[in-house]
């Protein structure tokens, strides 16, 4: 079976997870499972007014594409959509979406999990905090646990 062609979008605009699932699965009879992951902006207990996401235009798309193709080769996916936003995000806003479709649930779950682990450690995006009290804030530090999470997929 040929690997599916992933849909990749890097954009400032919001997305609609339901619409993306429909776009992927509509009029298809080979999809038995759709797993979606949505990452949202949280306020860290009221501490944050916003998160600002900087990205490397061009490479962001290219790197997500590389990771998505790797997932499509590794699992028998019948559809894959990845959307990553950039710009200023208010608490509650969508940041990232992964939609993985397959004939069976295991491949869809694993591919979505793999994609998120790899996006976190490889896609060129950086989060800057804007604090609720002063407006100022610093860059979010990369977590060791995220690198370790990506490492567990090494074959």
């Amino acid at each position: 079976m040929a690997a599916c062609r992933p849909t990749i979008r890097v954009q400032p605009d919001d997305f609609d997870a339901g619409a993306e699932i429909r776009a992927l699965a509509e009029n298809r009879h080979d999809i038995g499972a759709v797993v979606t992951f949505t990452g949202l902006c949280r306020d860290e207990g009221g501490r944050l007014a916003a998160l600002e996401l900087e990205h490397y235009p061009g490479m962001a798309e290219a790197e997500i594409e590389r990771v998505a193709r790797e997932a499509a080769e590794r699992w028998p996916l019948t559809g894959l959509t990845v959307i990553h936003r950039h710009g200023m995000m208010k608490p509650g806003a969508n940041i990232v979406l992964v939609v993985a479709a397959s004939a069976h649930r295991k491949a869809a779950f694993e591919a979505a999990d793999f994609l998120m682990d790899y996006l976190k450690s490889r896609a060129p995006f950086w989060k800057k905090e804007h604090l609720a009290d002063s407006g100022e804030g610093g860059w979010v530090e990369a977590k060791e646990s995220d690198a370790a999470a990506a490492g567990r997929w090494k074959k």
């Binding site: 490397y56 490479m59 976190k120 995006f125």
Partner: protein
Amino acid sequence: MKLIYFAWVRERIGKGEEDVELPADVTRVSDLLAWLKGRGENYGAALEYPEIIRVAINQEHVSHDTPLPESGEIALFPPMTGG
């Protein structure tokens, strides 16, 4: 060579990109980081710990022992925090 910077690397250096003439003995990514670090206080602040800086050549991640290309785009940035 075109250099581009992101996140706190960009903020500390004080610009998003620049064109530089590299000395002949700067042949690898690690040489580039060491050379840049000596260009001024701002570069010193951005590259204080060169081992944590991530580098991409023509939009692909590379390790610090990678040879530099003849031309193209080299990006320097902190570990990524997307997703």
